[in-house]
Symmetry: C2
Subunit: 463 residues, 2 copies
Amino acid sequence: MVRLVVGPGPAGGDRRAAGVTGPFWLADTGAEWTDEPSVVAGHRLDRSGVQPHGSPLAVAFPRGVEQVREVVRGAYATRTPIVTRGAGTALTGASTAGEGVIVLDLSRMDRIREIRADDGVAVTEPGVITAQLDRAAAAHGLRYAPDPASLEISTIGGNIATNAGGLRCAKYGVTRDAVLGLDVVLADGRLIRTGRATLKGVAGYDLTGLFVGSEGTLGVIVGATLRLRPLPEPTTTIAASYGAVADAAAASVALAGARIQPVLAELLDEATLDAIDADQGTHLRKAASALLIVQIDGGAAEAARALEVLGTDATDVRSTADPAETAALLAARRGALPAIERLGRPLIEDIAVPRSRLAEAVREIGAIARRYDITICTLAHAGDGNLHPIIVADETMVAATAAADEIFALALRLGGTVTGEHGVGVLKRAWLRRELGPDNHDLQRQLKSLFDPYGLLNPGKAL
Amino acid sequence: MVRLVVGPGPAGGDRRAAGVTGPFWLADTGAEWTDEPSVVAGHRLDRSGVQPHGSPLAVAFPRGVEQVREVVRGAYATRTPIVTRGAGTALTGASTAGEGVIVLDLSRMDRIREIRADDGVAVTEPGVITAQLDRAAAAHGLRYAPDPASLEISTIGGNIATNAGGLRCAKYGVTRDAVLGLDVVLADGRLIRTGRATLKGVAGYDLTGLFVGSEGTLGVIVGATLRLRPLPEPTTTIAASYGAVADAAAASVALAGARIQPVLAELLDEATLDAIDADQGTHLRKAASALLIVQIDGGAAEAARALEVLGTDATDVRSTADPAETAALLAARRGALPAIERLGRPLIEDIAVPRSRLAEAVREIGAIARRYDITICTLAHAGDGNLHPIIVADETMVAATAAADEIFALALRLGGTVTGEHGVGVLKRAWLRRELGPDNHDLQRQLKSLFDPYGLLNPGKAL
């Protein structure tokens, strides 16, 4: 029962005769597609654990813009909902696909079209893996700055759809700051180009910014013009250990107080260090209850000041410029999530608070964990106040869900947000209205209706 | 005939008896207002030279958000158009106000509400002068990075409404990059808060970005949460002279080619240097046909590399770390526009091209000037490919307008934009559709209708 149809399939009634079921019109789009159950099942979930109701109709694998347009036009004509997907690494349910949906898998549109080094610009298709773009830029002495922890497995298109953050965005900005322009297929199949190919430009409303972070609900991103930046000067990496996680958080606030601008400032609490050590065979935990990894690229003077500030309350502090040692430290941090996933089902939260409230947030999260008698591994991009409390849940999810709600309430109470960089997806829809307020939320719903009048683009997500 | 009514004025028929004419309902808003002809006349124009048809009805001077809401509600109820204005320094006609309009002058909402240094955040009213905010931040070891040439006279609200650029945005970003959240009064008087008070956040669509650069056509910005950054390390300033403007442009491209990231890279051509020398009594012109002013804050090694790259084809190159000398160089640059204004009526263009096409753009602009036998002073933020060809026009404006059209066409031909940082206003509306394409432009019109169904907010501007 092979249902993979390459290019235009058998026409009209022949399709039924050929045993092709499902959305026949896909065969007319020029895109490869399948309704093979194992492939469809593999496109139903993302990395959030969210279980959608039912199963998608089919998966289409376009290889170019015109094929995307044909699929979107067909969906519009038949009022079939579409879930656009890159690598499916969303942590929020944003790329889950349920009953009656067609999945538009853009992972085969994976070409870097152009790197214009002197312009500081790259032009890519959406399915390019983020780390591959960064490596391609490095060959020109440049880099693509945003570096979500998933950068080796997630795509540029997905990063744009969620406005992904990362480690070094404390200094070099989030995905939004790197996107100059987009090619977008609208709900009815029209193709628009937003933004510009230049570093500056203010012609018209900022539609680029509107599509960035819209989680596939306003249009399908089929191309991106991205900003590349010079590779920075050699970097100093500092690892500082603390007797308590609140001390580590306070030290990161002290960095800001000293007007030091770290490239990254990653905080890992005791539970996270335990998980990494168990998974990677490292010995990060040893005498420390919390670890702060800080990188500085502003020169030796800034590095010396950072070392002094971090050392004040540290039980141990060491600095390195050695690439291997640096890579090992960062690998430990980037491996934190997979390590925690081995402990149980992780519910990954993603709040951000004003940087000065970080220690308070960390203490309150500890209190929530004790109150519900659950494990919460907290890691944080401390440089911009973005915390990832990862709740290790049991099968029932009852305590985990209640604790998550308390964490969201905490974020808002501290003047923060329920999502710093992962997005809303399906997991945080209920909290979005509370954060935005009804007038803002209503306006966003009207925007959604303007771009997608039949509600076909990633329905039930983000808003 | 004093018509200034402070606070609630005489009610009902008493107003007429008191000789108050014009939009009586303004008296019920709590805002100071006037229809005194001299004040109204002073609020009719901006710095573009655009002459609107007719004269505004009145000017309101709210001192707080609730007063703005009352004025907007009154305008909505009576279907009266509103032009929101900060300092009126727009170069595009964006803040001109004609027949039947009420001007909402926000210059008296000029308080910096809060500087939270450890959070890297400032909260301000819209009427704050940009340089004042920067100075207030400097007292905390921080700065507000965007620095339009008008920073001593323009307001934060106006900078946000136009997504103003500036000199050091080559490295530190434009206004958009510094705006975290906004308080906005919608067309019907509802107040929403967009964005966040944290450095990161992705809850919902990016309405903040949509309001930034929307030139007062989508809502009235009444408050802003802004990002502050640490003051950088001491800076090296390099002044390099060239025998031809194309050589200076090529040198700035070579900087990018060497992966050097200048804080600013300002190019001034022969005609601009002449104008500055005549106005300021300087001797910039001397042996040079073009001057490139470059600042580096990435350390001594980067400064040395920049000096080498810029020196290759320069007739003279000097570097300074002396604050007075640096300030004099930058003052010359910032004084360029007033200096050129003394030569005749300036038509200030604002194209941006991919950085690598800068030399080509400069050559073509020279050819246009010769073809129309007019003076065009070209200065450029060379670091991001943003050129300001300033056409010195005669009274008829015929040759100037034709030359401007050729410059716009040139920008699009080189893959650029018709406005890098000044905005569309009324001067570039015709070119906007050409740049955006009809589908994008139509979508922007629909957005405008969604936010402003009766077309009352800065009508006839931006789109």
